[in-house]
């Protein structure tokens, strides 16, 4: 195979990460050190330990720097003939070798701080995609791109798919370039800033409730907050105002709290979405898709078409009212630490989704109203058991603890409604060589799985379900979440058997 001088220089020679890596590593640790320093000073007071306090911060930075330097010194990677070798560690030497044909893909990510220094993280994805990948943190951005092109070429060559000279002078001739070459063609899907902001608004974050909870638990009581506000207002000579406010304090506080929570939820959702999806751009490449997104952390990810297993379309009544949907792909590898499904369109209308799906050879043709419902027997039975039990429990607590508890009865229709809605929303349809499954209560989720990607199909029932002549199905999908496999049910047992047979015959 023809090898250019430049690439030959890269092979068979141990490389170190970029030296600026040490600076970045130390810089990452500095904010935590500063916070710790401030905490210690705040508790002890600056006058108590002047000398030690002044030495504390630089000493730890120096230690951090030494640690980073040692780590940098002992981390090397080599491109050998058949594999890539990474060696790291000073106390316990750790060597990893990755054969080129095992590399699924190479992705580049630029977090905010490394990007300031012109560095990038190179992530090699191997088959299982369970986080056991090799990453190079950090190399210069140019080196990252060179490595990506080179590794893709070596991978294609190892898999026997390369054209004649994969390491030719023209960078990335052949398959390697095709993966990130979007050419000058417009992206399949892109989000301008207004769209990103709208998506952020819809991503109302419930994390804020957890934050509020911790804040409240820190305060001794709500009363202390109110009395603090009270004394402040008192100083402003607004006695009468306080007195009238005091009457309404209960509801006032509740209203203020709700408004604060709502605002915080909106803002946190907006900020996280903006940081993650800014500049979202989906391009069609020769081998599949390429997705770029991020504000502080730039992420550049390739999604080869054969690895796409299923499409998941998400929406909720609020989004749907405005005609918005969210599209994700279930693929063999994990998206990031947080998402197991790959985000393909954070917010798009129906036409845009159809356009993306067409490129992935998946169809969105199932008419939701025409999809087959599952049996309501389980819902009816569970309600027949649960509602009387709940009613009895409420009456008993009302009798024991006081008639106020009777207002909990309002929960009963809510319980019934949510169970009914969950049943009503769960439907399936087998058409056009795809199995469509919809489910969800508030967030509606439609999974479209081409039959060719069905790995296995389970028909399961219990002694209990059999009495009703019902059974459920579980479909094995590569890359789906293990804790909630794609399931349909319960349905009459003959229907289940026919469906199972149809799923595995393709």
């Amino acid at each position: 195979m023809a090898v250019s001088d430049e690439t030959e220089k890269m092979m068979d020679v141990p490389h170190r990460l970029d030296s600026m890596t040490m600076v970045v590593r130390v810089a990452k640790v500095v904010p935590q050190l500063v916070l710790a320093f401030v905490a210690i000073v705040a508790s002890k007071g600056l006058t108590d330990l002047p000398l030690m306090g002044l030495l504390f911060l630089p000493a730890f930075i120096l230690l951090g720097g030494i640690g980073a330097a040692l780590h940098w010194w002992h981390f090397t990677y080599r491109l050998e003939a058949d594999e890539m070798r990474i060696q790291r560690g000073l106390l316990s030497r750790h060597g990893r070798s990755i054969p080129y044909h095992r590399i699924q893909d190479v992705n580049i990510e630029q977090a905010f701080l490394p990007r300031l220094f012109g560095l990038a993280e190179v992530r090699l994805e191997t088959g299982s995609g369970d986080g056991d990948d090799a990453t190079l943190k950090y190399v210069s951005f140019g080196e990252a791109e060179r490595l990506r092109t080179l590794l893709r070429g070596l991978r294609d060559h190892a898999k026997g798919q390369a054209t004649s000279s994969i390491l030719a002078d023209v960078p990335g001739a052949g398959g390697a370039k095709a993966e990130d070459d979007a050419g000058d063609s417009p992206p399949i899907f892109a989000m301008a800033l207004p769209r990103v902001l709208i998506a952020g608004l819809f991503n109302f974050s419930l994390v804020v409730f957890a934050v509020i909870g911790t804040v409240i638990s820190q305060l001794s009581s709500f009363g202390s907050l109110w009395s603090a506000a009270e004394s402040f207002l008192f100083r402003l000579d607004l006695e009468n105002a306080i007195w009238t406010l005091g009457l309404a304090s209960g509801t006032m506080l509740a209203v203020m709290a709700s408004v604060a929570v709502a605002i915080l939820g909106l803002v946190s959702g907006l900020v996280t979405t903006l940081l993650r999806e800014y500049g979202f751009r989906l391009d069609r490449t020769a081998t599949g898709f390429r997705r770029r997104r991020g504000l502080l952390t730039l992420s550049d990810m390739a999604m080869p078409k054969p690895r796409i297993q299923a499409a998941v379309i998400l929406t909720d009544p609020l989004r749907q009212y405005f005609g918005w949907y969210v599209l994700k792909f279930q693929s063999l590898a994990r998206d990031s630490k947080d998402e197991s499904d790959h985000m393909v369109a954070p917010l798009a209308d129906r036409d845009e989704i159809l356009r993306i799906l067409a490129e992935a050879d998946i169809g969105w043709s199932a008419d939701w109203a025409a999809m087959t419902c599952v049996s309501p027997a389980l819902h009816r039975l569970s309600m027949a058991i649960a509602l009387p039990l709940l009613a009895v429990a409420i009456f008993v607590s009302a009798a024991l603890a006081g008639p106020d508890f009777a207002f909990l009865l309002v929960a009963l229709p809510l319980v019934y409604a949510s169970s009914w809605l969950r049943w009503y929303r769960h439907r399936y349809a087998l058409q056009d060589g795809q199995i469509n499954v919809s489910q969800g209560l508030w967030k509606k989720r439609l999974t479209i799985l081409p039959l060719a990607k069905v790995q296995s199909a389970d028909l399961h029932d219990s002694f209990f379900l059999r009495r009703f002549g019902l059974a459920g199905l579980r479909i094995g999908v590569a890359g789906g979440a293990a804790r909630s496999p794609l399931s349909i049910g319960p349905v009459p047992i003959d229907e289940a058997r026919n469906l199972q047979e149809a799923l595995v015959r393709h």
Binding site: P306, R307, L332, K453, V454, Q455, S456, A457, D458, L459, H460, D461, S462, F463, R466, R474, I475, G476, V477, A478, G479, G480, A481, A482, P485, L486, Q500, E501, L503, V504, R505, H506
Partner: protein
């Protein structure tokens, strides 16, 4: 596949006459029995030790607990293993493998041959004692990433593996 179809007439078993499902080897009953005996023996031992330790505090009736454990173990060891064996059934179809197991919670799994990533034959020490082995099939799905069929004679398991290998095409998942 050349296993003489010894079908069961017990309506609770999987391998009914007329169904495509075959029973697994009777040797598996021995495996189940030994496993149950080990668990029951451990539980009985713990119950006896606890009873001896607590007897000064409570009166001699505490020995009723180990007696109960013993009675349950005897029950579990006599009738249960055969029942559990009956709940297994499998069929090697043209293009798929079907495995049925369980009764209280029954699962009927079908895995197409061309979806199998690789196939193992496993044999633990107890299985070796009873002369059976397991066929373990790996798929690419996160659900059912491994599907195992125990209670096969080693020769049958090897024959099944070879038959399946002949069917497997190299296909990029």
């Amino acid at each position: 596949m050349d296993i003489s179809p010894a079908r069961h007439t017990d309506p609770k078993s999987e391998a009914q006459p007329g169904s495509e499902l075959q029973p697994i080897e009777r040797g598996y009953i021995g495996v189940l029995r030994i496993n149950t005996a080990l668990v029951a023996g451990g539980a009985l031992l713990m119950a006896i030790i606890a009873a001896i330790a607590l007897e000064p505090a409570v009166d001699a009736r505490i020995y009723g607990v180990p007696a109960l454990v013993f009675a349950l173990s005897v029950l579990a060891l006599t009738s249960l293993p055969e029942r559990r064996w009956q709940r297994w059934g499998y069929a090697m179809r043209d293009t798929q493998l079907r495995i049925v197991r369980g009764w209280l919670f029954r699962t009927d799994t079908i895995v197409p041959y061309n979806r199998m990533q690789h196939i193992d034959i496993a044999q633990g020490p107890i299985e070796r004692l009873c002369g059976v082995s397991s066929l373990v099939v790996h798929t690419a799905g996160t659900h059912n990433s491994t599907v195992s069929l125990p209670g096969l004679s080693p020769a049958d398991a090897a024959a099944m593996r070879d038959t399946i290998r002949a069917h497997i095409r190299h296909e990029r998942v």
